[in-house]
Amino acid sequence: MLDILIVDDSAAIRKILQRVLRQAEIPIGNIYEAGDGKEALETLQRQQIGLVLSDINMPNMNGLELLSHLKATDPWKELPVVMVSTEGSQAKVLEAVQLGAAGYVRKPFNAEQIKEKLAQFF
């Protein structure tokens, strides 16, 4: 059972992702939420998170800054981070992948796209 952290400055998107994850037939433990990268780091220091879903455009610390920090810091170097963002250009996807993103889902998304992208982690 993996604990999942959803990082997005929109409460609406966090709620939608919670619903999609709960309805997916995958073994999920607890689901935690953070409103930006800094909040995400605070949660990661307190909880054993197995997978992160992160937006890119957020205040304080954006998703790519969070990704860079995690990939450079023990014990999170191997923690899979899937980006979920409106940023859909090839350049932005490539940047995320080069920084170590384990996947990329473009908003708008449907439940099947999220489930398909996460299946590899369960």
Partner: protein, 183 residues
């Protein structure tokens, strides 16, 4: 030079239609129909009550994207997005409309970036009230696309212009064309 690229009004309209229809079909499960696409000044296209959401675009081209609708239609959109009924505009509805705008304008941006170069996107600002006006501090044309959904009309608008005299790297992300709000 990327910042000398040009883009036609038809390309902007096409990007707005494709993005809005995709967000509505994928995230909301609502059918919408695009109407005529006049070019108006911001003040002429803006409603005087309801919700207006603004997102700044910055890069070699800069400007603003906007979505405007009534409070009732905002509640309808939020109800479909969050699978919860909303009868009045509250924090959840405002957040939902901000995110819907973010997805619509974000995907317009992605579509236009192929010709205009990479642009940054600000976080959305949502305004809700009565008897207000928004207008651009610059004299500039907005591309306005109205969408019909049942009895409601929603306006998606984009205003973009080359960022003159500035290096794209020097442009601060945010509202490059300030909106003036009068309530």
């Amino acid at each position: 030079m990327e910042n000398r690229s040009q883009i036609s009004r038809e390309e902007v309209i096409g990007a707005i239609k494709a993005s809005t229809e995709e967000v509505f079909s994928t995230m909301l499960g609502l059918e919408i129909e695009a109407g005529e696409t006049p070019v108006e000044m911001a003040v002429a296209a803006s409603p005087t009550s309801g919700l207006v959401t603004l997102i700044g675009l910055a890069g070699p081209w800069s400007g603003t994207g906007s979505v405007a609708c009534t409070g009732a239609f905002a509640c309808t959109m939020a109800s479909h997005l969050l699978a919860s009924p909303f009868e009045n505009v509250n924090e959840e509805v405002l957040d939902a409309i901000g995110e819907i705008t973010n997805m619509i304008i974000g995907n317009v941006k992605t579509a236009l970036e192929e010709k205009l170069g990479e642009m940054g996107l600000s976080t959305p600002t949502v305004i809700f009230g009565r008897n207000f006006q928004t207008r651009s501090a610059r004299i500039q044309e907005w591309t306005v696309v109205p969408f019909r959904c049942g009895e409601e009309t929603m306006y998606v608008q984009v205003c973009l212009a080359p960022t003159a005299g500035e290096s794209p790297r020097a442009v601060r992300l945010g509202f490059q064309i300030p909106q003036i709000l009068a309530i």
